[in-house]
Assembly symmetry: C2
Homo-oligomer: 153 residues x 2
């Protein structure tokens, strides 16, 4: 799928505020509401636009503990990696998980309520997991920016 200038602007806006009406979006980009609707449907069927979600304010949610954990697995069979990924994805508090290059194998962002729950999860995901070679935890002191914004150009 190829984007023109208007597509870029629409996708940009939608990623910041998806509660705008088709008409309001149209006024911004100089199109009718119908045309905007057609474009949005096109994004959806092309799989570019995945879903609409509500974003909670971390600072306003009681007792949220955010932590970034770097993980390296044992260098043996590749099956370890699938098993580890499975274990991660089974936990809803695993907010983000990235398979990365470099000194570490995975970057995991944990969002838990309270330190007790964080410890419990860290134990389960990193200490008890048989294939984790080493890991280090960085607690988030201030979430300067959070989000899922992706540029389109």
């Amino acid at each position: 799928m190829t984007f023109d200038e208007i597509d870029h602007r629409l996708l940009d806006t939608l990623q910041r505020d998806a509660s705008r009406t088709l008409q309001a979006l149209g006024e911004d980009v100089g199109l009718s509401a119908s045309a905007v609707q057609r474009r949005i449907n096109r994004y959806r069927s092309a799989g570019v636009l995945a879903r609409h979600v509500a974003v909670l304010e971390a600072r306003r949610t009681a007792d949220i503990v955010l932590a970034v954990v770097l993980v390296t697995l044992e260098r043996e069979s590749s099956g370890h990696h699938d098993a580890f990924a499975q274990r991660l994805l089974a936990v809803p508090e695993v907010q983000q998980a990235y398979d990365v290059s470099g000194d570490w194998d995975y970057v995991v962002v944990l969002a838990t309520i309270g330190m007790a729950r964080h410890s419990e999860l860290a134990q389960h995901l990193f200490k008890d997991a048989p294939n984790v070679k080493r890991y280090t935890t960085m607690f988030v002191l201030d979430p300067l920016r959070t989000g899922t914004y992706l540029p389109t150009r």
Copy 2:
């Protein structure tokens, strides 16, 4: 603001799919559409619910380069930190930025289109910044999970 069982279920659902109708949400939790709407408005005015956004599919967006960058600043004046944070937040491709404890000062997630733009930004944000002591870049090979889900209980 204090949550009951229904609030938890609503906030959970809304974070996964905010495109459901008030009526559908109500059927899930056993309330009328009006009652659901009242609760959602309450989340908004309490600042718990920040916004509704569209989420793009990273894998379907052409040439997206995701990278996690760890940064440590010089240990001098605290003004360095504000200046660095400012510089980060001025860049839309800084998808996430966390002030963290531990071996590093900041964790930054960059989402750029293409490696050239990544390098350009890395230069500006980390190489040219006068107060960055060291940084290391981990490129994302596979985004196993991305999102902003926060537990509420």
